[in-house]
């Protein structure tokens, strides 16, 4: 059984999901990586250390990666014949998975939290409806294309050898490949790493707009030594950088304490934080779904409860 794992190289390092997926997939057979990016030795070494036996490397340069990556992968899959192709849930990953799926006529199994290569049939477990229902699906297509939830599997290095690196030439796909990346911008975020933090303070639309109204979230995080998170509505509105998003399309966090401030608890958010050890929520709407997963819920105005809490903590 051969598995392919997709990797997007960012700033000379492999995507976190690629190392997690390698760790999982090496338990059932040979794993090869299709890596998109500049192609650094550090990236290849890290992929090898996590169990990649072979790396197909494509440098899309200034072309938007997804269309050319999907075309190159489809071509190689014809001969390399992997049984399973696995992706993380990042934006480029989702774009490539979708295009590859259409090229190969093979559906995508999304939001996977478990993959079982099985005997003759691959099965994938995912959680739907905001993580309230678990579904096991058997795939009959070949290869099976899977997009996994972040942190579904922990990454651990192994005593791997040096992987063979195969340079893949950029396919000419005409008009479909005509999207060009003109500029790249990095938005720095401050404070502890959201995914690793033991305490996360997240804010939602209920905080209201503007820097001043968001401030209690940052202040509380500083006082408790926690990381700041946010809902999709908040990052889309541009109040905080996208990298702070917790939820379906953002990060998955499992801290000891998660404090949800002005968050109603849409399915898309709950998926990313429901496995936190303790959840505390402050929201003015008593019927908000966030309260159904909270260990402690305060029904009230965030702009009254939070300043009082901050003063109490500062006084200690």
């Amino acid at each position: 059984m051969t598995t392919w794992v997709f990797c997007e190289e960012l700033d000379g390092t492999p995507s976190a999901s690629s190392l997690e997926l390698l760790t999982k997939a090496r338990t059932w057979g040979d794993v090869e990586v299709f890596s998109v990016g500049a192609g650094s030795d550090d990236t290849f070494a890290a992929l090898g250390a996590h169990g990649a036996s072979k790396i197909y490397h494509l440098d899309p340069a200034d072309q938007l990666a997804a269309p050319v990556a999907a075309a190159a992968m489809a071509e190689l899959i014809g001969t390399a014949a992997p049984d399973i192709v696995i992706f993380g849930v990042g934006n480029t990953e989702r774009d490539v998975a979708g295009r590859l799926s259409a090229r190969l006529g093979s559906p995508v199994l999304s939001n996977a939290v478990e993959i079982d290569p099985g005997g003759d049939q691959v099965t994938v477990t995912n959680e739907i409806l905001g993580g309230t229902t678990r579904v096991v699906t058997a795939a009959t297509a070949s290869p099976v294309i899977v997009v996994t939830r972040p942190k579904a599997f922990p990454a651990e290095p192994t005593a791997g050898g040096t992987p063979e690196v195969v340079s893949v030439s950029l396919p000419d796909i005409g008009h479909a490949g005509a999207a060009i990346v003109l500029e790249r911008h990095i938005e720095e975020s401050e404070g502890p790493d959201l995914e690793a933090a033991a305490i996360v303070i997240s804010g939602g639309r209920g905080m209201g707009g503007g820097e001043e109204k968001w401030e209690p979230v940052t202040k509380l995080a500083n006082l408790l030594g926690g990381a700041v998170g946010a809902t999709r509505a908040v990052v889309d509105a541009g109040w905080v950088p996208y990298s702070l998003q917790v939820g379906q399309t953002g990060k998955t966090v499992k801290p000891d304490v998660y404090i949800a401030c002005g968050i109603s608890g849409a399915m898309q958010h709950l998926v990313g934080m429901k496995d936190s050890s303790t959840i505390i929520a402050i929201n003015k709407d008593a019927d908000a779904p966030i309260f159904s997963v909270s260990d402690l819920g305060i029904v009230g105005d965030v702009h009254k409860v939070m300043p009082a809490l901050i003063s109490a903590l500062e006084a200690r």
Binding site: G131, I186, G297, L309
Partner: protein, 254 residues
């Protein structure tokens, strides 16, 4: 410029979702609402059409049990010109690839310069359909746009990335997916709501479009995940913060 906007009618997210036990598909009531994330795509389409002028058209394309068309009328009331709906019993429970094939067939038949979609639906959130559609239409895609600009023949966007954003440009025809930060969607006014009732809605079947649904995945089991027990809920009357302090002490955070 012919703009096709992919929209989806979904069960009201404010109400709990159910699976139909016979099929394991999401139970879909007759009255479905417009997926909130689709309002952004509709708004971008309307703004681009206004910029281009009279020769621009905005067509909604949707694959769903049509029901009362409540959700589609919401988008027509915002200002879209017409809608093409693919409704066929054979498409119940269709996966994203089948959906993309049906939408691609309808959009190709209709003709397009630009296709706009959200980044994922609120009910299914697989998040891969727009790119499957772009591939089937053989066009470049500008995905995860948080800002969109158009010049004569090209679209330029700010594309969300894990680390920040990239500026990406592509010539038309193309497919664009938008986040909910891209524009502020308009609310339909009374005139729009009245006009929406008379706007043309064309119904299509698989046979009309030459699409054959294929099933390549089989649900083996569906089971509820043990729900978290809701804990203590306290109404704040000025002392609510003390409960949080107590909890943090109990957890030895402070």
């Amino acid at each position: 410029m012919r703009i096709a906007v992919c929209v989806k009618q979904i069960p009201d997210p404010a109400a709990p979702y159910d699976l139909d036990p016979a099929t394991n598909f999401v139970a879909r009531p007759d009255d479905q609402v417009l997926d909130d994330t689709d309002r952004y795509g509709v708004e971008v389409a309307l703004q681009l059409a206004e910029e281009v002028g009279e020769e621009a058209t905005v067509t909604l394309v949707s694959m769903s049990p049509s029901g009362t068309l409540q959700g589609i009328r919401q988008a027509l009331a915002m200002g879209a010109d017409r809608a093409v709906i693919i409704d066929d019993e054979a498409l119940r429970g269709a996966d994203a690839l089948t959906t993309a094939r049906a939408l691609a067939a309808a959009i190709k038949e209709d003709g397009f310069d630009l296709v706009i979609a959200g980044t994922e639906s609120t009910d299914g959130y697989a998040g891969v359909m727009p790119q499957q559609l772009a591939e089937l239409l053989d066009v470049p895609s500008l995905s995860f746009a948080r800002k969109v600009e158009k010049d004569d023949t090209k679209l330029r966007i700010e594309r969300q990335t894990q680390a920040g954003y990239n500026v990406v440009e592509a010539p038309l025809p193309a497919l664009l997916t938008v986040t909910s930060g891209v524009v502020e969607p308009r609310y339909p006014n009374f005139k729009g709501i009245m006009q929406a009732k008379k706007k043309p809605v064309e119904m299509k079947t698989c046979a009309d479009l030459g699409v054959e649904p294929v099933t390549q995945q089989v649900i083996q089991s569906v089971e509820p995940i043990a729900a978290r027990q809701a804990g203590e809920i306290v109404e704040d009357e000025g002392e609510g913060y003390l409960k949080i302090v107590e909890k943090l002490e109990e957890l030895k955070v402070i």
